[in-house]
């Protein structure tokens, strides 16, 4: 899979550098012959992270342009390459995002790097399209604890956004959230608040105030205030977040029952994991926090129950539903009791169905088994 190359044997002017660290390269990938590495270690990292998915795609992009006699041919070649580069960028970005959500920061780094490179190839070094790639890189670096490269990437992203006056609010929102995260990790809470405030502002303008995107900003902000010891603000923010999630999930469940849920509305795994973590951390009050109101706890436990029910895990849903019921009984005439009981009922039905196995369908021998028998 790897072949050694000697840097001294390279043709003049062609410096082969490592795909990851940009040091002089000593080995190359034998499947595409267009990617080079400084050593075995980096090649393995890149292979696991992204290269196995894009190896063949890289060949046409990185080989020099063949000689075409006709103008039309040259143009066609150009557009083809451009399309491929865009595809490459999309794939690598998606992979990086996925790995980030799965908290495999080290693996997302090479993918993000590739996405940045292809974005630079397409849009030049100052296009606003580079910002998502920068953000991915920064986030991966924050996750790995490398703060100075993260800051570097964020500074570039910030500069790019500053130079683009008509930059969309989505991009600004993401940038500020990422910067907020960075400053929280760095411990510069004032700066973090500044960026998170901007993040929430853009998110509310773009998605509306009761969207779960805005809610994420509030949650991070509550984290900062928690570190500053301002418990009253933390509590009021948590209430806000809990209410937003609760109403969002209730709506989703309603649609789920009616079976009118649209694909955009349903969660993917990453969002599901994030929501679960967020709600759980609010439910399990950390020490030193004043006791939560039982109605808020009930709402949180109810939300978690709905979340797991939507994620087809009725056992967990049942567990949280019972917990929610306990909390709701502490509150006199709680309005939540009825929906919680309905949730429990739904979860039990699902659980029974799962225990029984699949609903009993009349058994037809499939074509596949027939074939097996005949052989």
């Amino acid at each position: 899979m790897s072949a050694k190359i000697n840097p001294l044997a390279n043709p003049k002017g062609a410096n082969k550098v490592c795909e990851l660290c940009e040091e002089p390269a000593y080995i190359q990938c034998t499947k595409c012959f267009v990617t080079f590495y400084c050593g075995r270690e980096h090649q393995d990292d890149d292979w696991i992270a992204i290269h196995q998915k894009v190896c063949q795609l890289l060949i046409p992009v990185r080989t020099p342009v063949p000689y075409y006699t006709l103008e039309a041919e040259r143009e066609q070649h150009c557009t083809q390459i451009l399309e491929r580069q865009k595809l490459l960028m999309e794939i690598s970005q998606m992979v990086a995002e996925k790995k980030l959500f799965e908290k495999r920061h080290k693996e997302s780094l090479p993918a993000a790097l590739l996405s940045l490179r292809s974005a630079m190839d397409i849009y030049g070094t100052s296009g606003v399209q580079l910002v998502p790639a920068y953000l991915l890189l920064a986030e991966a670096n924050i996750g790995l604890g490398n703060l100075s490269p993260a800051e570097q990437y964020l500074t570039w992203a910030d500069w790019t956004v500053v130079r683009t006056p008509d930059c969309s609010r989505t991009v600004r929102n993401k940038l500020h959230r990422c910067m907020g995260r960075l400053f929280i990790v760095k411990g510069n809470l004032e700066e973090a608040l500044f960026h998170l405030a901007n993040d929430i502002y853009y998110a509310s303008e773009e998605y509306g105030q009761d969207s779960i995107v805005t809610c994420g900003g509030y949650f991070l902000m509550a984290d900062v205030f928690f570190k500053q010891g301002k418990m009253d603000i933390v509590n009021s923010l948590y209430t806000e977040v809990a209410n937003t999630w609760h109403s969002h999930l209730s709506k989703l469940l309603e649609k789920h029952i009616e079976n009118t849920i649209t694909p955009e509305e349903s969660f993917d795994e990453a969002q599901q994991a994030e929501a679960d973590q967020m709600l759980r951390s609010m439910l399990d009050v950390p020490d030193g926090c004043p006791e939560q109101q039982p109605d808020q706890s009930a709402a949180l436990a109810h939300s978690l129950g709905m979340l797991w029910l939507l994620d087809k895990d009725p056992a967990k849903a049942l567990e949280f539903g019972k917990r929610a019921l306990l909390y709701s009984q502490l509150v006199p005439d709680c309005s939540l009791t009825e929906p919680i009981q309905r949730l429990l009922q739904l979860a039990e039905e699902d659980l029974n169905a799962a225990n029984k196995g699949w609903p009993e369908l009349p058994h037809y021998p499939s074509a596949h088994t027939e074939n097996q028998k005949s052989t």
């Binding site: 998170l196 502002y201 509030y218 301002k230 009253d232 923010l237 806000e240």
Partner: protein, 469 residues
């Protein structure tokens, strides 16, 4: 050798580059206007040891902090929002943003050319946004601490701040939220809730939602019952509540009367009368009684009407209010007339004239005379009718009211014509030579010569002059 004879002042060839004091001043102002957090930051900078070299000092002077950059780069609304969020005032932020969005949505819903398109958008009116931010954040601080009375006061302050007609909706919004927070005030026995209900009553009346207004005023009344709370002017809140309820009941009854629903209208007006009695303001009580009386009158129940009118008369006599006394007499006369008691009716009308002698009550006097005139004319006593109309006409000349004057003129003319009619038609019917001469003479002179000429003619049957009006 080259030394100049006169010492010249040293004038630099180029203007000084560091002529930027103005810029610094404006920037310092901005820094001052920044929030507490940035102030703190500026202070920490100021505290830095003074030995810092000139270069550092300069760079400090020229460099801008992130907040200052944001002031120039972002909109005022954006900066305000960020400022609030940084201090954790997320409720204020969402309320402010929701208000701005609501205004924008209202404008988008209105058709082009509507007056709302002429107004300045809320997000561009900086002083209003500043005021909103100031009071909302104060309310939120109080809310976090659980001091709902302070929350309520701040919201009411906001509601009072927006007085211009195009800001009415903001004022209404804050009265509404004020009611919510007033309900959570526990210590004051419900006084703030009562006040908030009264405010909401005003708001609903302004919007024309009379039923909701009535509910709020009833709550206001209920809460103030048995309490001795007083406002700044020294009036008890309870009597205020009674008066407000009286007002809203009367308004409701007006609506019913327009639709000719006499039964419910009388019921509502009686409630209003009860409230007025409870409120303890005699003038209002009299007014309420008068309205009940009128309602009974239009429903045809003159007996009960007279009872209420009597109450009104009593109260007005005690208060010495001649105008209302006059109104009462007029209503009485009308009632009696419809009952057929003409003599008594005239008596009341004459009383009406009597109490309306005052200079300020000229219009009433004129009205009374007109009533009397109409009455006598309808009975065929044209000469007396004429007298009253003449008097009414004289008064009307000084009233500066063309409409009234014209009416008096027409009535007077008709009455005079009716007076002549009998003898004139008698003469036409007899058609003797003398009569013909008289008619011709009258046609020439157009002077009234019939009245003395033929007294008997008055007994002949007449047209109803009222129908000629």
């Amino acid at each position: 050798m080259f030394t100049p004879a006169v010492l010249r002042e040293h004038v630099p060839f180029l203007p000084p580059i560091r002529n930027t004091d103005k810029l610094f001043q404006s920037r310092d102002k901005l820094r001052g206007s920044l929030s507490g957090t940035s102030k703190a930051r500026a202070q920490t900078k100021a505290k830095e040891p003074e030995q810092t070299s000139q270069v550092e000092d300069d760079s400090n002077k020229y460099s801008l902090t992130k907040d200052e950059v944001a002031i120039f780069r972002n909109s005022h609304k954006h900066n305000l929002c960020v400022e609030m969020l940084r201090q954790g005032y997320h409720r204020s932020f969402s309320e402010l943003l929701a208000l701005i969005h609501r205004w924008n949505a209202t404008r988008a819903a209105a058709e082009h050319g509507a007056s709302i398109w002429q107004q300045q958008p809320l997000e561009e009116q900086h002083h209003k946004l500043d005021q909103l931010q100031h009071l909302l954040t104060r309310a939120e601080t109080a809310q976090r601490a659980g001091r709902y009375e302070e929350v309520y006061e701040n919201q009411v302050a906001l509601a009072c701040y927006f007085v211009e007609p195009e800001d009415k909706w903001l004022s209404h919004h804050f009265y509404e939220t004020g009611l919510v927070s007033a309900r959570r005030v526990k210590q004051d026995g419900g006084r703030r809730e009562a006040e908030a209900n009264s405010n909401m009553g005003h708001v609903c009346t302004e919007r024309g939602q009379l039923e909701t207004a009535r509910e709020h005023y009833e709550a206001f009344h209920h809460l103030t019952e048995g309490q001795a709370w007083k406002d700044e002017a020294g009036r008890t809140l309870h009597s205020q509540a009674c008066q407000c309820l009286w007002g809203i009941y009367t308004l409701l009854a007006d609506k019913m009367l327009e639709n000719k629903e006499y039964g419910p209208a009388i019921e509502t007006l009686t409630k209003a009368f009860q409230m007025a009695k409870e409120g303890g303001d005699k003038a209002v009580e009299g007014q309420a009684a008068y309205r009940v009386g009128l309602a009974y009158q239009s429903a045809g129940n003159h007996r009960t009407a007279e009872r209420y009118l009597n109450l009104y008369v009593d109260i007005s006599t005690v208060l010495g209010d001649e105008e209302s006394l006059g109104n009462a007499y007029k209503a009485f006369a009308k009632s009696l007339e419809s009952e057929g008691k003409l003599g008594e009716s005239v008596e009341y009308l004459e009383k009406f004239v009597e109490v309306s002698q005052d200079e300020s009550l000229k219009h009433n006097l004129e009205e009374a005379c007109m009533c009397l005139g109409v009455f006598f004319c309808s009975k065929g006593q044209y000469d007396r009718g004429c007298q009253h109309f003449e008097r009414a006409y004289e008064i009307a000349q000084h009233l500066n009211n063309v409409c009234v004057l014209q009416k008096a003129q027409v009535y007077l003319g008709t009455a005079r014509a009716c007076m002549m009619m009998a003898s004139y038609s008698g003469q036409v019917a007899q058609a003797r030579r003398v009569d013909t001469c008289k008619l011709v003479a009258w046609k020439e002179s157009r002077n009234d010569m019939f009245i003395d000429a033929d007294a008997t003619a008055r007994e002949s049957p007449l047209h109803n002059p009222v129908s000629r009006r």
